[in-house]
Amino acid sequence: MLAIQGRDGFARVAQWQQGDATLRLPEVLWPRTARVPSPSMARVLLAEGREPMDLPTVRDMGSVFAPREAGPGIALLPPDLPYPPLAGEAMVRAAQEQNASQAGCGPGAALVLADPAFAHGAPMVVLSHARARFPLAREFASAALQARRTAGAECVVYAPGLGLPHELAMLAYCGIDLADGVGAQLASRRGQFLTADGPLDPAGFQERPCACPACQSEAQGLPWLREHNAWATEQELRRVREAIRAQRLRELVEARVRAWPEGLALLRVLDLEHHARFAARAPVSRKGPMVLGSKESFWRPEVEAWRRRLPEYRKPVSAQVLLLAPCSARKPYSSSKTHAFLGKALSQVRNADAIHRVVLTSPIGVVPMELELHSPAAHYDLPVTGHWDRDEKAMVQEALRALLANNTYSRVVVHLDCVERDLIAEVVPDHEHTVVDDDALSPKSLELLQATMRDALKDAKPVGWKHRQRDDMAARARWQFGPGAEVLAEGTHVEGRYPRLKLFGKEGQRAMLTEERGLLSLTSHGAKLLQPLGRFQVEIDDFHPRGGILAPGVQRASPDIRPEDEVLVTHNGELRAVGKATVSGEEMATLRRGEVVKVRHHG
């Protein structure tokens, strides 16, 4: 039984109850053999044979060539025919057939990854040949994600042979719950000193670069390395678990792959070839900042998803003149000095509500101001130096093209530095530039901006601010709930002070914008209007939810639901509640325990 306490993408922190034992996940299994002792901090063992152990034990029963009997254990790895995936499809199928016939070897039997049909009821899925596959990034990525899918949310995935400290963050990121210390024990024997950045040769140490109990002790040689390498593993495991709870695992993974080409290759493959599956797991709102500190950050699922969705974006209908504005380190943009100055200057321009301010930024491309609270626009943080590399340039240009291809403006005003202006010029030759002497906030620049805007707006249709507020709400609704969701703002008026804006129809309140989530929270009135779109819906059994909706009550969930999404809870076409998803739609489908929707309004 699995109690999940924290999630980040495919990674989770959980308590795994198996028989009398309760394990924390992610966890590392420590081998214990006649010659190789388990380290002092081991909590779960990996062993063979019948001898009872003082700790929960996963038992390896050998292979078909030398099957071994197994003593008590929380999971048994049945004797397998160990054909590696590289041996060819027919061989792997033959092995799977053989291995499936071994699957039913008693309660607690684990399964070598085979047909998903065999996974029912198994507590653990083994990603077979995990370590042999690992150097082949493509092969490993597909196998790991397939294992996660086969396992479902309730089942634990184990990757045998992997689990060196520097690998742990990446393994969790791939949805792997269990690794082992076999690699660490072999490294100890070979005289390697393990760290979260990879192995070191301790021969040249002037001082031990670690403060674990083993490194502070007098221990030398093999006993020292065995114990230190285990502490290094334990320490990184704790880092990983905490990073998952804080939803900062991606940052840790990016840090760990820096000096690890195999890991870097895998991350690139995951980002470029498995984007959709990761994006479906990425939360749509978050608390802390999202540090985009490396090249790989540009393809982080949330960031890539924002760029991919831009062609779907539609501007507020009444906005007519496009103002391309600089980004700011401070988020949301409107709280920054830059945008305070711009806002003040524009407020002195007549019909300023016909202006559409859009921020140009790397690496998410463009951020229309009405979406500034949305994740990742509200959270991303990256070094700003004014230098744009080719990739960043291309990304921004592509985003801008997507914006202009699907939205028509009467004029384009560019209030940006020379560098940024130059890259815009390639996309929109026909624009007006309003920054003087490369200082966007100088009185001269701001005056030029005002003058240019006055001119640009003289032919624009007059727009009342209430009208514009409603159009902004429509644009937000579409971005959050997809095409057609503009209906939410039809026949409404907006009340409240930004960002706490409330959307009212004749029947009452429909939605509210919240700064913490960056999303629209729906009322039942609003939800009813969106129901015909058929998206973000959780179909439940026939009951009337009050507090939260638990996994067993869910019949179906739209696959487009990401964690933190606003969802409509329905039964047979009847709206039963509105709330916030705590897990993705994919996970809702296989989860058997725990709350999956926090209900806010019930019908």
């Binding site: 010659r35 050998g62 292979s63 060539f65 030398a66 590289l86 370590r131 045998p160 072999l186």
Partner: protein, 348 residues
């Protein structure tokens, strides 16, 4: 569940794909290779002439064959006539026989396979051995070694010449034969063949494979020792063959992908130690390519030393010559024996 008594078709197909055999050019009247080596004969070290005859190839290998066997690369893949066999034999003896008491006649396949070596040639080749030869060795698959055929080859030799037939047993265990080695013989075939041979006064030798693919170092070591002890009551000599990486084999494909490591020389020494402690039947080993990545090897430092000790043991049969713990890599090997099974096919 796949049947261990049947050939596993995907494995057989994979072997066919790996080999891609085609008919070869070249004279059929010249042997593949001829050389002289040393071996133990009648408690002394004696010279032995080795003749590798050209044949169409091992019938089993032409259908796919054993996962480690690269000898099939010598196959002509076309008919070799009785006259061709006799011509090869005459040429080899004429050029290279200088009175060596032992002559080994190998075919890279099975000498007693009528499809590979016509019956007339089986007898004819042996009948050409000159006076002075005191022992002849041939190799055959066990299921070809029927009483009739053994009697025929025995009858082709002068009575004073000792005949030895070597069988590639590889393993006594059906799962290893079916799913690792991909062999069409089974252990009962070996027991039967040895029974026939004994009745005819023919000596027998068992080749035992150490570390065919997909087995861990420990599984391989245990399997070789168990196989040797099962063979011992039936045959006259045990030969431990550490698997080496030969061209165009499954083992080579895995080796290239980092999925196969030839056995440690420590495993060879350990196997010899355990076997000689468990049986009086003599045991020997001549690791091919010892010390190289493609042959049995250790850490690179102690390889020459350990390989020499194995060589000395094979000639002298004195277990005290087998190496002890002279190198730190022995500790690593001992750890690997216990840990490798957890790695699920990855090399430690």
């Amino acid at each position: 569940m796949a049947d261990v008594e049947q050939v596993l078709q995907p494995l057989q197909q994979l072997m066919r794909d790996t080999r891609r055999l085609a008919p070869r050019e070249g004279s059929l009247d010249e042997p593949t290779k001829v050389w002289t080596e040393q071996e133990r004969f009648q408690d002394q070290v004696a010279d032995a002439l080795v003749i590798i005859l050209k044949t169409r190839g091992c019938t089993w290998a032409l259908q796919g064959g054993c996962t480690f066997c690269g000898y099939v690369n010598d196959s002509m893949v076309r008919k070799v006539s009785v006259e061709n066999f006799l011509a090869q034999m005459r040429l080899a003896l004429g050029q290279s026989w200088k009175g060596q008491p032992v002559v080994k006649i190998y075919t890279s396949g099975s000498f007693l396979d009528d499809t590979e070596v016509p019956r007339e040639a089986q007898a004819g080749v042996l009948a050409l051995l000159p006076e002075g030869v005191r022992k002849a060795t041939i190799e055959a698959q066990t299921h070809h070694a029927t009483r009739d055929k053994l009697a025929a080859v025995r009858g082709a030799l002068r009575p004073e010449v000792e005949l030895e037939v070597a069988f590639g047993v590889e393993s006594a265990h059906a799962p290893v034969l079916a799913w690792s080695v991909n062999k069409d013989d089974r252990f009962p075939d070996f027991i039967a063949a040895c029974g026939h041979a004994r009745g005819l006064g023919i000596k027998t030798k068992a080749y035992i494979m150490l570390k065919p693919p997909f087995l861990t170092e420990r599984e391989a070591l245990d399997d070789a020792v168990a196989t040797a002890l099962l063979c011992a009551p039936h045959c006259n000599l045990l030969s431990i063959n550490p698997c080496n990486v030969q061209n165009r084999t499954l083992v080579e494909r895995m080796f290239r992908r980092g999925l196969y490591r030839s056995p440690w020389l420590w495993s060879v020494a350990e196997a010899l130690t355990r076997i000689s402690a468990g049986t009086h039947t003599p045991v020997r080993s001549n690791p091919v390519g010892a010390g190289q990545q493609r042959g049995a090897h250790n850490c690179g430092t102690c390889d020459g030393h350990v390989a020499d000790a194995i060589e000395q043991f094979s000639l002298s049969r004195d277990p005290s010559l087998l190496p002890g713990a002279q190198c730190a890599c022995r500790e690593e090997w001992l750890d690997i024996l216990e840990l490798e099974g957890f790695l699920q096919g990855a090399q430690p």
